[in-house]
């Protein structure tokens, strides 16, 4: 059963600007899905439709196969958590602990459960030692982890990360990868917008490609990154290892291990 379904969803802003057109997609519990595509392709608009921050101008969004029209954004956000692209759009408390605790407190959970949730989310995001700090004492890239922890603490079934890899160093990107793995292990669905193709190859089972306001194709990283016509149409490039393999005439290679085997065979 799908936890989240988009059925022929379109969205136009009140000024008539169409941001996403006729998107249909299904998401299962426990899967990690990457969304890639150029800036302005409709990625962020599409994910905002998934948790009720925006409402489709056409089509339907279903959670657990149930229509979401009658649900408030707050009700949807309990099940589908969205981490903003710009952490500063999300952060509003004066300590990291308060910021992470805000969601679970709003859910009227027992103080002890709130405490546990905050602790777990902070640890997963590498923030356990800075909980008393003001969020703005941390740099932009770390503030992103505060917002991820804040959403995780609400324990939604679906976690949407909007460009979490932007501005992250190698270590933090690895931390993100581990975080996604641990969420999917707990049977959560993780949907991530990213421009980092190496990250996509490493951490995701399924990829959705957006271009020109539309979903162009979905598939495994291999199905996506070896579809040269698709990449060209969507202004995307193969990950570096695929590029190298391609130039050397080794088709369908996705990882360094695979390329090593082909070269040394």
């Amino acid at each position: 059963m799908s936890i989240l379904t988009l059925e022929n969803v379109s969205f136009s802003y009140p000024n008539g600007f169409e941001a996403t057109r006729n998107v249909s997609a299904e998401f299962q519990l426990g899967e990690a899905v990457a969304i890639i595509g150029q800036n302005g392709a409709g990625k962020t608009t599409t994910v905002k439709l998934m948790n009720g921050l925006l409402r489709p101008t056409q089509g339907r969004v279903l959670i657990d196969e149930k229509e979401t029209n009658s649900l408030t954004t707050a009700q949807m956000a309990k099940r589908v958590g969205y981490v903003f692209q710009n952490p500063d759009d999300q952060i509003f408390q004066d300590s990291i602990e308060k910021e992470i605790a805000f969601g679970p407190k709003k859910q009227k959970l027992d103080a002890s459960i709130v405490q546990t949730r905050v602790q777990e989310a902070a640890e997963a995001c590498g923030l356990e030692n800075v909980l008393q700090e003001h969020p703005y004492n941390l740099p932009y890239s770390k503030r992103k982890f505060i917002t991820i922890a804040a959403v995780m603490a609400m324990d939604p079934e679906v976690v949407i990360l909007d460009e979490p890899t932007a501005g992250q160093d190698r270590e933090s990107t690895e931390l993100l990868g581990g975080l996604i793995k641990s969420l999917t292990k707990k049977n959560k669905t993780v949907i991530t917008i990213t421009h980092d193709m190496e990250f996509v190859t490493k951490e995701f089972h399924r990829v959705l490609v957006f271009a020109e306001k539309k979903l162009q194709k979905e598939g495994t990283p291999r199905e996506i990154f070896w579809d040269e016509e698709l990449l060209q149409r969507s202004a995307l490039k193969q990950p570096y290892i695929c590029q190298l393999a391609n130039a050397l005439g080794y088709q369908e290679v996705m990882t360094m291990d695979e390329l090593e085997k082909r070269i040394t065979a």
């Binding site: 302005g40 932007a166 501005g167 933090s172 190298l244 360094m256 040394t264």
Partner: protein, 279 residues
């Protein structure tokens, strides 16, 4: 000739218990492209602010050592005049936009207005920049309506508008898709051709390998590696200091177990591997 020169520079923010920049010696030579790499919190942004004279001018805290711009102590320059000579785009594109202009066109012209460039030249320049940065479709839009990636391009265009001699870019591509990222690096290459000096803070080492002359690796406020892009980005030791290697170097070092003449760019790797791998 070095255009910016740091000698034994240490700096500590007022409320911090230790220095964030420690005993740095760095010479930035005219006309070269520098990649500044390292973990988040290694001190990269602070170092940028020191090199453009913003620290100590706009920050409290203690700076020791000397910072020279064109062989003159940087404190002797007027900070406003210096801003036109050393262009800087901040890490967070969401805060870079001035907030006082209604359209992308006006935003790009804003800096030029401030330094008193004539309207005719300004208009022509704005037009050129709009083409160069592929902003035609956005020129009438309010800068705040733009996506993160679009804001980043507008911010960079606003800096190039001032025709600075040195351009410091703090993670200019963090919000950009791969194609726009390459376009920014092509603009960097173009600025280099015009004789500009460029310092770029960037995590995308594969692109730094293609476009930089020199790489400086910062760790915990100190320079741990400083050399040609080739030297630094083929050195596996940088992984121990918060650095990252281009994918092709990593593949060569870790998978093909080759430690000599390690390629750092895609073109080099292809050329080498076309000749077969010597076992």
């Amino acid at each position: 000739m070095s255009i910016i020169e740091l000698k034994n520079v240490t700096y500590q923010y007022p409320l911090d218990s230790e220095a964030i920049i420690k005993e740095i010696d760095l010479s930035i030579e005219n006309g070269k492209v520098y990649g500044l790499i390292g973990n988040n919190q290694a001190g990269k942004t602070t170092l940028c602010n020191i090199m453009r004279g913003f620290i100590p001018e706009m920050f409290l805290g203690e700076l020791t050592g000397t910072v020279m711009y064109k062989e003159k102590a940087i404190q002797q320059y007027n900070i406003g005049a210096l801003a036109a000579e050393i262009g800087y785009s901040s890490q967070n594109p969401f805060t870079q936009i001035s907030g006082v202009k209604d359209t992308v066109e006006e935003e790009i012209a804003y800096g030029m207005e401030n330094i008193g460039i004539s309207p005719e030249i300004m208009e022509q320049k704005v037009q050129e920049l709009i083409e160069l940065f592929k902003l035609e479709e956005l020129k009438e839009k309010n800068p705040f309506e733009l996506s993160g990636g679009q804001k980043q391009r507008v911010a960079l265009a606003s800096i190039v508008a001032l025709d600075p001699e040195v351009v410091i870019l703090d993670e200019p591509t963090s919000q950009l898709d791969p194609q726009s990222t390459e376009e920014i690096f092509e603009i960097i290459a173009m600025l280099k051709k015009q004789g500009k000096t460029i310092i770029v803070v960037e995590h995308k080492v594969d692109l730094l390998a293609e476009y930089c002359d020199e790489i400086v690796l910062l760790e915990d406020g100190r320079i741990v590696k400083n050399g040609s892009a080739h030297q630094v980005l083929s050195d596996p030791d940088i992984l121990e200091h918060g650095g990252a290697l281009p994918q092709v170097s990593l593949f060569y070092l870790k998978h093909l177990k080759q430690n000599t003449s390690v390629p750092i760019t895609m073109a080099e790797a292809i050329r080498k591997l076309m000749g077969g791998v010597s076992q």
